[in-house]
Point group: C2
């Protein structure tokens, strides 16, 4: 299995003319809008082999390959994308775009507000999951793709994939919703609240009222990340990986410095995150997740909201995922089956918690590969 | 069932003479040491009816009754303690003391360091669970109680109850260990780390290096509490209590203000906690919990460490408690049974998560009442 090699990103900007601005759920409009994206593989002549891959909270458009010869780290789903890999670039044309509201190339709170010439920061309008999908649809039109063969995402990416099925039923042949949910639980909303509170109580954030520039609210963002990171793991995987192992010493230091390996690991995760992610974007994107409720328009009735979807579905959960528990996926599957929709469901036995969607490459890869082949064959047969 | 009525607290101070200082696991000595405690009921002539109740992280010595006629809130376990209640004050003499390292009357980091005439703060020595128990033993000697009929505690209180059985096997007739564990898991250590980090990154804490006086590190402490509070509830109970219910409006505000009821609830919990608890005490007590490992001296072998206990045991867990999961209790029970110890175990079916040990009053009350009667009868028979 090969690598897609050296890749580059593209920026597509629309809505420079306000008449083409992106309409948002909050009632405001966003203009202009830039979407950063990457593509791997080649679009076939019939334009029937395009797949949209959607990233999770802290992801970006760089899903596979390297940006230069000296680049040591490949894209975030490199193990899944490439020649002969599950997202086989010999067969499929893969698109991955950075969500709006983010900080990795697409328009977000740290972009320049054309009305002020300064960064939006808190003047940036609230973004929802359907808004993100609406922006992706603009990119789809720009790329002249009539229908996605598959829209796939894990976690927040899975929310968007599900939203695609509802908002654009004729433009998605199939959906792969991995480790995701139809609405965020009370517990997850609570964790998000604490994370945002840590950011918005950070002294730098308070001092600048979110208009930080050189000095960053990094303590708050690190706390938010460390907290979230615990929810991505499982009790079992943490016990296996760290247990109560001490760092260097044979005994406790009897103070508040790092003693346990898990403390060291968390601190590291917090620090690395601050280097690559923005605090205000964290506020906006977690809020989008809080607000996500696939069945909001049908008053919470999931079966009713999924009645008109036309895609085939692959739904995958992981046994030890307590943030987006298997029950969330089962609820989606049940609603789809009640509607007699074509759905493949698998609850993968894994100890890796929510992170499993990035770690269980082999099992997930096989599932995805088989599902895509089946969808692809049927499309070719009908062509 | 009645109330113990108006109660008052007592302060017992020892170790004013350094030769009687409290020896601590960290190698240091604490002197003097004050222990705040309350008692309910009457010690019988044979001194065989004394029960020690041990509080959890944020508890105190005021377990039952009221401090004055105008007091509106009773002690923290009032539903369980009083005439004809499970801890029946017609039959038993109840003692509840505040742990050392705390901020509710017993010596802790906010006490005056006699060597400097100022508050200890970070100069306070690290405290462990066995240290807390050693201090309680001094109180026991002062009260001339030869043997506890029962030592009982939930959560951190349960850790201390277990430690009593090991450190003073001849001085405890029985142990009730509720919603607790023999060692803190990696996940719990991780949550504690994030909570302490929030406190120690609070601008007031940073500015004063923990020697805060009028201005308090309340943002950090509130974040720590909100985070911990989520871990005390269960996903299920949060969904039942709050779900995705909005506060007042029919729709989202599309900003970062409180929208969901669960956000409002968490903020309230954080604010109330800051009024009654101290940030440095939070650091010390969570560290004591991190360090707790009942089987540390037997290299993690729980069976070996429980081989010499002489008490009867009541072990109780709650089905939806994911912080101190039923498995923790089952491990303890298994180790006790391997040693042929007398143990009653019950995993109570409850949706309230870890908080169930304070909420499942009826079921837990019946279990405790029956267990105590059985232990009490046997003691009277042997007398």
């Amino acid at each position: 299995m090969g690598s897609v090699g050296i890749v580059k990103y593209f920026d597509y900007t629309f809505g420079t003319d306000e008449s083409e601005a992106l309409r948002l759920d909050c009632g405001k409009k966003l203009s202009p809008v830039t979407i950063r994206y990457e593509t791997y593989g080649t679009l076939n002549n019939s334009k029937t082999n395009a797949i949209l891959i959607i990233h999770a909270l802290s992801g970006n458009a760089h899903a596979a390959g390297y940006h230069s010869d000296t680049d040591t780290k490949p894209g975030w789903w490199d193990e899944m994308i490439g020649p002969d890999k599950p997202f086989d670039t010999n067969k499929y044309f893969i698109v991955c775009s950075n969500c709006i509201g983010g900080c990795s190339g697409s328009t977000g709170p740290r972009s320049i507000n054309p009305k002020t010439g300064k960064k939006y920061n808190l003047d940036f309008p609230a973004i929802t999951i359907p808004d993100m999908v609406r922006a992706q649809h603009r990119l789809m039109e720009y790329l002249s793709i009539p229908k996605w063969l598959n829209v796939v995402g894990g976690s927040m990416g899975g929310m968007q994939a599900l939203q695609w099925a509802i908002d654009y039923p004729d433009k998605v042949e199939s959906i792969s919703a991995i480790a995701t949910c139809a609405r965020l639980s009370s517990q997850s909303i609570a964790f998000d609240w604490v994370g945002r509170d840590a950011i918005m109580k950070d002294p730098v954030w308070v001092k600048t009222q979110g208009n930080y520039e050189n000095e960053l609210p990094e303590h708050g963002l690190a706390i938010a990340r460390m907290l979230a990171h615990i929810t991505y793991l499982s009790d079992e995987s943490m016990n296996t990986k760290f247990g109560r192992k001490l760092r260097e010493k044979d005994n406790y230091s009897y103070d508040f410095s790092k003693n346990f390996e898990v403390e060291s690991y968390l601190e590291y995760q917090g620090q690395r995150f601050v280097e690559r992610f923005d605090a205000n974007c964290y506020l906006y994107i977690t809020r989008a997740m809080d607000y996500f409720d696939l069945a909001a328009k049908t008053k919470g009735n999931l079966t009713e909201c999924l009645a008109k979807v036309k895609s085939r579905f692959l739904v995958v959960s992981f046994s030890s995922d307590w943030l987006f528990s298997p029950q969330n996926s089962k609820d989606i599957v049940k609603a789809l089956r009640t509607n007699n929709k074509d759905v493949v469901y698998c609850n993968i036995d894994s100890q890796y918690g929510h992170d499993a969607f990035l770690l269980e490459v082999e099992t997930l890869g096989t599932l995805i590969s088989d599902f895509l082949s089946s969808v692809h064959e049927r499309v070719q047969k009908n062509a």
